[in-house]
Symmetry: C2
Subunit: 165 residues, 2 copies
């Protein structure tokens, strides 16, 4: 088995946001995909250990913030490599509020979702979200995971499904 | 709601293959994502109306064929816009056999999976597959869905989650 093959699946780079204990929180994710067109349903995969996972289970809603190629790399680092349990990831960021959810003003698009189903796997929860609102915020090009690795020289956080140990 | 936002999610271009009635069959898909790293589990989304959906349910196994940028566009058309119910999509193609599954020799990578769980949505089934084998077949660059649209000027089949009516 040559696991390099698995890394040839293509992804984008997203921040999944929701509400923590009265504060906005979120984490970087690259695994999001549309499941049905009408109604629009999107699946995201979030590690059990991520604070965002328990917050989505608690609140039943999340927003997908689609990052563009020109987003500040610091944003990916803040949301990908720190935990919302002990760090306010929104410090210095004034979130837009869309469908009562915190959205990153620097995202190139956002999609707000209401959880309609979820599936557990050994390490991750797949949340199925029905789209409640979405919009394009700027004309940046969506960042692909490949671009993130090759151009921004980014790494995968330990909790990512695509983590290479 | 500006649904253009949803089309800013990033995907690859894949052919999901399995066995039909004694013959290899498959369909084009763009929605596949890794869910967990260890064990490696991958989710794919297949429309209820696709023959491949019922074949995967019947056989419990599937292969993800990752297409590269230099794959023959005809291959995408054959697997995306015809039905395996009344058309032998493998006509003229000698499949590789990997873990007893038919694999396209022109794929740049393949991943064979055993279904361990599935989730129904109004139009699609999400199959969760545990990876049983995978390999890189050539050094082509994985085709992104964006590349397929912009460079190959491809369209979405009616059954795709990303179909724009």
């Amino acid at each position: 088995m040559n696991k390099q093959a698995i890394f040839n699946l293509s992804y984008g780079v997203y921040v999944i946001t929701t509400w923590g204990d009265g504060k906005p929180t979120g984490c970087t994710a690259n695994c999001a995909m549309q499941i049905t067109a009408e109604p629009a349903i999107i699946a995201v995969s979030i590690n059990h250990d991520n604070y965002t996972n328990e917050c989505i289970k608690d609140k039943g809603v999340f927003a997908i913030n689609i990052l563009g190629e020109n987003v500040k790399p610091l944003l990916i680092g803040t949301f990908g490599f720190k935990s919302g349990r002990d760090f306010n990831k929104f410090e210095g960021i004034e979130p837009l509020i869309k469908e009562m959810l915190p959205v990153l003003p620097d995202a190139m698009s956002y999609i707000t979702c209401k959880v309609i189903n979820s599936v557990e796997t050994p390490t991750h929860t797949i949340f199925l979200g029905k789209v409640t609102d979405c919009d394009v915020l700027n004309d940046d090009k969506p960042m692909t995971y490949d671009y993130y690795h090759k151009v921004i020289k980014g790494k995968s956080p330990k909790n990512a499904p695509t983590y290479q140990g």
